[in-house]
Amino acid sequence: MSVKLKALLKSPWVFHISTGSCNNCDIEVLDCLTPRFDIERFGILLAGSIKHADLLLVTGSGNRKSMEIVKKLYEQAPKPCLVVAIGECALSRGMFIHSYNCPVPVDKVIPVDVYIPGCPPKPEAIIAGLVKLIEKVKGTLKKKGK
């Protein structure tokens, strides 16, 4: 397990899921890949399929229809798989909390490791969040080593 996690941190591949977001967080995630921010130079790559991914970036307020599919997608992901919730909607559903089509928040359906707040979070915030995630996992690794 620890070897797998350690290997994951060198070059985490991310897969992105929108569960009923307004596209803003999704566009900012994509923005991280473009020349201004260029997250690929740290080895973080957007994967085409969940089966290739180490990190799951979840945005959006947990739509009834798409959460069913998110559950299935998470089951398909090779473990260990870390989950990052991006944006206010994925954290607490923000202003969509009373919506008839967003019954439960994302973290009640799949386990979330890191939360990145903001509406939308800036690309800098997303990069900082991913760095925090890596630090967090490294911290747990150290504890396990003791």
Binding site: K65, H98, N101, P103, P105
Partner: protein
């Protein structure tokens, strides 16, 4: 064609069907018509007067259901909304999809959101809501109540 001509044409042709006309401003006119004559009116406005079908918006007033069909005349900048009032207990109206494809999705949306049945629609099924949504529950009706027992509505703080 001028603004006056368009209104005059509609008034002349459908004298029997028009219930009420509200001339709100130079660009907005609301015309209430009988539900049974909707197809006739829409066909005339779309095909002969060359208006663009903008959208339909359904709403639930406690006493009845209303659907507004918005048509826009781009050259003269005039937006005419045809209002039909439906019985709330059994809302039914003829579909406009056979005349123009643009009405297809909006009729499906009104069907699931308000429960209005469109007679003659080729493919009347749900558009937005999930498959496990219970039948007969329409979220945009004013008496909608939360049906999902599992839903969490507090932030836990």
């Amino acid at each position: 064609m001028k603004r006056g001509d368009v209104l005059e044409n509609i008034n002349q042709r459908f004298k029997e069907e028009i219930i009420d006309v509200i001339d709100k401003s130079s660009t907005r006119v609301y015309i209430e018509i009988k539900p049974c004559s909707l197809v006739k009116v829409a066909k005339y406005v779309f095909e002969e007067l060359g208006a663009r079908f903008n959208i339909a918006s359904g709403l639930d007033v406690r006493s009845h259901m209303e659907i507004l069909y918005h048509f826009i005349f781009e050259e003269i900048n005039l937006l005419i909304s045809f209002r039909v009032k439906l019985d709330r207990a059994k809302p039914e109206i003829d579909s406009l999809t056979p005349i123009f494809e643009a009405a297809n999705w909006i009729e499906r949306e009104i069907y699931e959101m308000l429960g209005v049945k469109f007679k003659g629609h080729p493919d009347l099924r749900k558009l937005f809501l999930s498959d496990d949504w219970p039948d007969g529950v329409h979220p945009l009706r004013c008496d909608y109540k939360e049906w999902d027992r599992k839903a969490i509505r507090d932030r836990g703080v």
